[in-house]
Symmetry: C2
Subunit: 198 residues, 2 copies
């Protein structure tokens, strides 16, 4: 039972690493089983389809991000917007350690697969909503401390910040350069959230 579960997890992790580096379509079942050192024929014992594996890859990536946010955004005495800033700075540090060559698997999968797989699209939508919920909580906390512009809706802001972050990561890949991430930080914190004025 333990071994069985290990095999499944290994397939998801191997697929995640490969798909994050390239794309869903670029990575074949044979490539995944070979890298995971699992007989190719056994793949369909674990997953009904490559699409089903893709859905679990999305869940696994989302779960890692959620744990990181739970850890970095927890109320610990720092002001809510300071925690938000520290969280994005931390992720920029992670991206830097990967030479700005990776990015967000959720974003890449959205543009590649959301229009073609309802199963994968639903998982992407759920992952974004959960992420957005975490940001929303921090922004409502900031609003309750009068640390947000009075006319800013925290729910709107959570969606906007998440989507703008995805856009910054997209542009980072096209350049390739961390510049879009720095523009994001200045634009969100100094202009949009008007931190210096709060």
């Amino acid at each position: 039972m333990r071994l069985a579960s290990d095999t499944r997890t290994k397939l998801v992790r191997t697929a995640l690493r490969s798909m994050h580096r390239t794309s869903f379509e670029n990575v074949g079942v044979a490539q995944i089983t070979e890298k995971a050192r699992i007989p190719k024929g056994s793949f369909y014992y674990w997953f009904p389809s490559k699409e089903a594996l893709g859905a679990e890859v999305i869940d696994a990536f989302a779960e890692t991000g959620h744990k990181l946010r739970a850890q970095l955004l927890v109320a610990d005495g720092r002001a809510p917007l300071q925690r938000l800033r520290d969280y994005f700075d931390h992720v920029i540090g992670l991206l830097e350690s990967q030479d700005f060559e990776t990015g967000c698997l959720l974003g890449a999968m959205s543009l590649e697969m959301a229009g073609r797989s309802e199963l994968m699209r639903e998982r992407l939508s759920q992952a974004f909503e959960r992420w957005q919920g975490t940001l929303r909580d921090v922004l409502f906390e900031a609003a309750s401390q009068n640390a947000l512009p009075h006319d800013l809706d925290p729910s709107d802001a959570a969606a906007f910040i998440l989507n703008a972050w995805e856009g910054a990561l997209l542009r980072m890949k096209a350049e390739p350069s961390p510049q879009p991430l720095h523009v994001f930080m200045r634009s969100i914190f100094e202009q949009y959230l008007r931190c210096s004025e709060s």
Copy 2:
């Protein structure tokens, strides 16, 4: 000569339509030549590789967008920020007419191919830079009329707005819903550019 040029254009247009609907990798050379009603064997007479075709698909998509912006953002008596708002509203209308199922080919290609094809990445980078330049011109015009917040840098704003737009389109695909586009409009014009205060 005319026929020859027509064939090449036909291949680019056919590839653009198919790749815009799915992805670069999803569309094979055989599929493109079949749809364009051109013998498969002649493809490599026109393009040294599928990657070279991909680069021209990017250029063709970028050129269409550039012409649209030249037309919609031209100084015609409307205030610069009004032109900017009208431009995004117009594109949202176009996306609506396609049931919010398409999006931006430049964004999709960036996440799918920028890390794997230097040729395509360069074209994507150039296309974004040209687009950003058009937005920058409008924002500098607004700044010269004191229509921007005094501490907003028009160059930063052009990059941020373009990238945030790409992020909104990405999220639109994941939902699928126009909601991220409406959040973008409110967040950019009312909060970030503070249009109501200008």
